[in-house]
Symmetry: none
Subunit: 406 residues, 2 copies
């Protein structure tokens, strides 16, 4: 029995409100030895004042030293063990472009690649063709038809696309199917190979499509072939309402985050516009309708990925000014400020570093550390803790968990 199961057994109704403010890729690193991180550099008077009244800690998204993708990192924040609950790469890619996948659909991430005259791969990413070229190629693949399924092909960006098969005859498609990408050059792209008998009909459909698609691409180097990876269906995750009893809403503007929230049954609230002010407006207007709000800020991560230390710091400053006081004005019972993972500008990518986390609650025991930053959080009483704990902690502090045992 884990905390996750315990929540399902013990959750009880209450009138309390929980806000989970997630600055994507929040955690950072100093540019120079002895220097400050992006968060430490940012001038954040509101977060610092809140920190003084909160508990601090460093949230570990999946495990020590492990760099999470956005899917696992978010599942952890929502209390779902990302090693136990797996969102296939194909499905994540489809969620990322806002494709409304149905539970019976099979999705694959596609990569255009370059092959030579012997059909051996010379570039697994087709020279990172421009997205416009991708769109033209995808258009030429859309009318490949397969028996018993509807076929969707959608551009992601550069060399990446999504393939989705939707059964039209009520049949179940099984997808225990290996990637066709041999993960190296000098060898031909593979065909789809079913890993069990039940998946053979799906593999046959995929291979029919692969043959036709690769034929059509042949005259279009550098994108003259393709591969499929991470074939996946909706894993049927337990819904947050069942796990926690919370009426949960997601406020996010990027498709992938909305998609992950939808997978666990959150209501995804429409946001008019893309700014954090637009998101705050939604929070304010729907405040009375939900118990739990996942509030996602994307641009911290984008700045980190771009290696733009100062832009990341200034986005944090903007959240401090435009979001934090607005949330506090709504008088929540629990407010967690954190990230899904670290994206240090010096690394220009997601990293394994645990994520600075501020946990404020009406019934908290403040650490009395008046600063929100990586090192301040390292001194906090939450210590370095599993991100999966956040939801149960929030539930406890929101008086939403009954006593365990007599």
């Amino acid at each position: 029995m884990s905390t996750f199961e315990m929540m399902q057994t013990l959750h009880q109704p209450a009138k309390t409100k929980i806000v989970h403010l997630v600055m994507d890729g929040l955690g950072g690193l100093p540019r120079d030895p002895g220097g400050k991180t992006e968060l430490e550099t940012a001038h954040t008077p509101n977060l610092d004042a809140l920190a003084a009244r909160s508990q601090l800690g460093l949230a570990s998204p999946v495990g020590p030293g492990i760099t999470p993708g956005s899917g696992p990192a978010h599942l952890a924040l929502f209390g779902y063990d990302p090693y136990r609950f797996d969102i296939g790469r194909g499905l994540l890619e489809a969620l990322g472009i806002g494709f409304e996948q149905l539970p019976q659909d099979v999705a694959a991430r596609g990569n255009f690649c370059t092959v030579d005259e012997n059909n051996c791969i010379t570039d697994r990413r087709a020279g990172r063709i421009p997205t416009e070229v991708n769109e033209r190629l995808v258009a030429t693949l859309r009318d490949i038809s397969l028996p018993g399924v509807q076929v969707f092909v959608e551009t992601v960006k550069e060399y990446r696309f999504v393939l989705v098969l939707r059964p039209t005859a009520g049949q179940t498609l099984h997808v225990n199917i290996a990637d066709t990408d041999p993960q190296k050059t000098g060898v031909p792209p593979l065909m789809a190979v079913a890993q069990d008998a039940a998946s053979e009909p799906t593999a046959e459909l995929i291979n029919h499509w692969l043959t036709e698609a690769r034929d059509r691409l042949r005259p279009h180097p550098p994108a003259n072939s393709l591969n499929l990876r991470g074939l996946a269906k909706d894993p049927g995750l337990p819904h947050m309402a069942d796990v926690t009893g919370l009426r949960a809403a997601a406020i996010a503007v990027y498709p992938m985050y909305k998609g992950v929230a939808r997978l666990i049954g959150m209501d995804v609230l429409p946001v008019v516009g893309e700014t954090v002010e637009d998101e705050v407006e939604v929070l304010r207007s729907r405040w009375s309708d939900y118990d739990y709000f996942y509030f996602h800020v994307k641009k911290t991560d984008s700045a980190g990925e771009d290696g733009d230390f100062h832009r990341k710091a200034s986005i944090i400053e903007h959240v401090d000014e435009a979001v934090v006081p607005a949330i506090l004005a709504l008088d929540p019972d629990v407010l967690i400020v954190t990230g899904d993972h670290s994206t240090p500008a010096v690394l220009k990518t997601h990293s394994w570093h645990p994520v600075p986390t501020l946990f404020w609650s009406r019934y908290g025991r403040p650490d009395g550390i008046a600063e929100f930053g990586e090192r301040a959080c390292g001194r906090g009483s939450l210590g370095t803790f599993p991100a999966t704990d956040e939801m149960a902690l929030a539930m406890g502090h929101a008086l939403r968990l009954a006593k365990y045992g007599a």
Copy 2:
């Protein structure tokens, strides 16, 4: 392999002594934002001086955000995973009144309730009748006899009682039986329903008793019916001597704590009187007979449950003065000062907050924090740690665990 199994494999004899001083419900909360907790308010020069020579931390009884009952919380302190080892509510209730349950007995927690003329429940707690009324009603139920079992009915308090069936014919009673309490008003009390075939004979006995008992109560509103919950037998927990090799003794004055200690095979030492001084006297007089002493102080929890912040603080002060120096004078090798869970006076009930813990050992690495309080412990080197770790840590520091591997 868990630490619990490891202890069983690695324990080795030694002459060292461990004292586990448990102030029930020790953890607290400030009354006002920025204020001090009960423990932080208490003047505790002895504990503060000991803290300076100890490691500090916050013990998590069962899991993040989870509020434990006394049974699971104590199992955790003794090293038993409370999610894995379950003490049924009926058994705990019997332990709580000092009923000497035998391993073959079946115990249930009983609640008197009020039903209307259609036998529908109008009050699940029978208006919280006075304990004296409970005693009179229990007396009228005592002579209901059942074939093949001896029947005990015992008052707990107000609307609560205990029913115990003891087989007299050597038969085994199985108790996978649902509660008869429908957990709501407006519907009739239920009969006992076996959840498996083996439990059907027991359910039949219980239903025989229920029918007769409810008939007899009919003329006695508001307690004119009853329900049974948490039907349970002794779960046959591994004994502490087998897990740790320790000769373990419990010094406690309240029945439930003595009962839980007895379930894991501790010797429960008789205490003449009810004060902590009486308990210290027992510790002193039996010091040479045991390796491990569980020393329980109940009144911190009672004060917390009463919402009496100052009484809780003054009980802690009294323990600091009357217990801590007396234990140190006996020259233990390991002394842990902690609680089983938090009972903040502001919440008037058990809570999910981790418990301030001081770990002193001859071979410790002191944190050098000269204060015993929630925030001081939040800065300690033990961090927030599972309470189940305390026993293995104590065993290690007491030189009672052999090396693992070569």
